[in-house]
């Protein structure tokens, strides 16, 4: 059995590629995956910056191929097929310890585009809930993800990584200040009403931006959000007019087609007297046609463009990241210990059973040649039991202790070899140890 992770992220794939694999509802894909004989459990995380499949697989090699084929078939959206070489270059595969560590790092926002950003934890929780809801989550991932959430909580409490997180909105403000001298007399338009927009709205308000408008497909959601931040709410049908009156546009809304295309923006520019327009598109798939950046006086940044800012952000926070990494490592070892302990149960059981079998057979042989009264026979049996228990106590205790550490697996293997447990298991059933049993 193995824990596998196959995925792509902002580190390996361009936004063009990532948006092809972005998925809103992971449940149908997960149901198909766990129906495969090689995969027992699966979780699918699909965000703006990453698409990752995590699986607990009984046949690792076959499962790995199945997860890759999932990217090639189930997750691949419509449109021209992605070249195999391009997909291969974008996908990464992690196994066991590396996969556990990656899941923990993602939940702690260490691997995020904007290190320390708070959104990712909610997104990981949503992915986990979706897996639980469709029955794709079992005892292993059901233990791993809560551990990841606990690790994220530790990182938040024990480091300053989450303090003053450099959010997308903050990067947007820094960039906007290179275009506009003052933001107080500028108007922002936020398209969408999700978590990212809410955070951006909060941040922009705090940075003293003048008027803020929220436009959404469902005006009621926009109104609810706008009311909380003193912004105005609009429907998407008002976009041309809103564009005319806005200097900064931030979009993060679902949809297959770009909302802002060159003709629409060109018209708005003409009407606004060619005043500069700064657009940030953090939607996946993208909400603004990249060709808009070719227009004069329009500065368009998408998620990939923000990565350089995130890199500098990551450098600044290196010390906090190092502390967070130490927490992640400790939690990873803790989880691996648990996983190993799970795998050790059959070994311990087999060892005890083997000792008991020897004790019984030797006792029966000895008693058959002696004419002992009932009381004496019971005393002899107690004696044999005591000897076996005392003999086993030290190695079993030591084995349980060592399972928490790095040498746990080596001790487990040594125990199986010394007591010939695998020979016996093969004699009995022909099956090896299986932690899920």
């Amino acid at each position: 059995m193995s824990l596998l992770l196959v995925g792509m992220s902002h580190r390996t794939a361009s936004v063009e590629l990532r948006e092809r694999y972005a998925i809103e509802d992971p449940r149908p894909v997960l149901s198909k995956l766990v129906a495969s004989p090689e995969i027992d459990e699966a979780v699918l995380l699909s965000t703006c910056n990453r698409v990752e499949l995590v699986a607990w697989a009984r046949e690792p090699d076959a499962a790995r191929l199945r997860l890759r084929s999932c990217f090639e078939r189930e997750l691949a959206g419509d449109g021209a097929p992605v070249r195999a070489a391009e997909l291969d270059g974008a996908l990464y595969e992690l196994v066991d310890g590396a996969a556990i560590r990656h899941v923990l790092r993602v939940a702690c926002a260490i691997d995020s585009l904007v290190v320390g950003e708070p959104q990712i934890l909610g997104q990981v929780k949503d992915a986990y809930r979706a897996a639980v809801a469709c029955g794709a989550c079992g005892p292993i991932l059901g233990r791993l993800y809560p551990r990841a959430f606990a690790t994220a909580k530790r990182v938040k409490n024990e480091t300053r990584l989450a303090e003053r997180p450099i959010s997308v909105a903050r990067v947007a403000v820094d960039l906007a200040r290179q275009i506009f001298e003052s933001l107080e007399d500028k108007a922002a338009l936020l398209v969408g009403a999700g978590d990212m927009i809410e955070l951006a709205l909060d941040s922009l308000r705090r940075h003293g931006l003048g008027a803020v408008r929220v436009a959404n497909r469902t005006p009621a959601r926009a109104a609810a959000l706008a009311a909380r931040f003193g912004a105005s709410a609009h429907g998407l049908d008002e976009l041309p007019e809103l564009l005319r009156r806005s200097d900064l546009v931030l979009t993060c809304i679902g949809g297959d087609r770009p909302l802002l295309d060159p003709p629409l923006v060109r018209q708005a520019l003409r009407e606004r007297g060619h005043r500069p327009l700064f657009a940030i598109d953090i939607g996946v798939p993208r909400n603004v046609d990249p060709a808009v950046n070719e227009l004069d006086n329009v500065y368009l940044y998408d998620l990939d463009d923000l990565s350089a800012a995130a890199e500098s952000n990551a450098r600044e926070r290196q010390r906090e990241v190092e502390q967070a990494e130490a927490i992640v490592l400790a939690e990873q070892q803790r989880f691996e210990g648990w996983l190993l302990a799970l795998a050790a149960v059959p070994t311990i059981r087999a060892l005890v059973s083997r000792a008991e079998q020897i004790r019984r057979s030797e006792l029966e042989r000895a008693l058959s040649g002696l004419a002992l009264d009932e009381r004496t026979a019971a005393a002899v049996e107690a004696l044999s039991r005591g000897i076996v228990n005392k003999l086993l106590h030290a190695p079993l205790s030591r084995l349980r202790e060592e399972l928490e550490g790095e040498a746990g697996l080596a001790h487990l293997e040594a125990a199986r070899a010394l007591f010939a447990l695998d020979d016996e298991a093969e004699d009995d059933s022909g099956e090896g140890p299986d932690p899920s049993r």
């Binding site: 990067v171 820094d174 960039l175 506009f180 001298e181 007297g273 060619h274 006086n297 350089a308 500098s312």
Partner: protein, 243 residues
């Protein structure tokens, strides 16, 4: 210029302070020059260039007090330095004053040099705007706040300097006409310098009309400011050197 980072801000502040000190000394030199008998003619090209260099620095200092455009120093300082070096190494013996036309000639050189200086600042702002615009468009400056002024401020500096510079240049042309009329009794002297300057003035008239009469984009205005200043420098200084 694009390499200016956060740390460069300290150097910029130092640069601006040194420029201010240099402008003070340069001004003192002009004051001393003015006390000479006979007073040197500003129509002398090296002196006019030196005056333009001094006014360039003064215009920059005045503008950067209002707008946060210290980074313009990276273009203004070398320009002023080259102008001053040119003036120092090509200075000739002071000519005696021209009776009757001294006022107009002084005014002409003063106003035209002021115009040249301000349009130089506009050109520098335009140049910096184009550099910064290109960097932002190409997604190079992400994240860190740059030492470069915002595009909005560079455009504002360009706009103010162009408007004032064109006004002074126009007055310079007008006083030049009056100077020629006083001295020679005709309105237009002809010659390469006068014709080239008039042609550039017409170019600027179109640029200013487009800039303030229509809703021109800031990038086009920046391009116009750079082009205009290159033509003006060629017409005023280049032609003067060739003579």
């Amino acid at each position: 210029v694009t390499g200016l980072g956060v740390r460069a801000r300290r150097f910029l502040t130092l640069g601006v302070a040194l420029l201010a000190l240099a402008a003070l000394l340069h001004g003192a030199a002009f004051f001393e020059l003015h006390r000479l008998e006979p007073t040197p003619q500003l129509t002398d090209l090296p002196l006019a260039v030196s005056l333009a260099a001094w006014l360039l620095v003064l215009s920059f200092l005045a503008l950067q007090l209002r707008l946060r455009t210290r980074a313009l120093a990276v273009l203004v300082a070398p320009g002023a330095f080259l102008g001053t070096v040119f003036a120092a190494f090509s200075a000739s013996a002071p000519e005696s004053g021209e009776v009757g036309s001294a006022l107009w000639s002084h005014l002409h050189v003063l106003l035209a040099s002021g115009g040249l200086a301000l349009l130089g600042v506009a050109g520098a702002a335009g140049g910096l705007y184009l550099v910064h615009h290109r960097a932002i468009k190409r997604k190079h400056p992400v994240g860190l706040p740059s030492a470069l002024p915002s595009l909005e401020n560079l455009d504002r500096a360009n706009s103010i300097a162009t408007a004032l510079g064109f006004l002074l240049l126009s007055l310079g042309v007008l006083t030049g006409v009056l100077w020629v009329e006083t001295r020679e009794g005709r309105l237009w002297p002809g010659g390469l310098h006068a014709n080239a300057t008039l042609a550039v003035w017409l170019v600027y008239a179109v640029l200013v009309g487009a800039r303030f009469g229509t809703k021109q984009s800031a990038r086009i205005a920046a391009l116009g400011a750079v082009t205009g200043f290159v033509l003006l420098a060629a017409a005023v200084i280049g032609v003067g050197v060739l003579r």
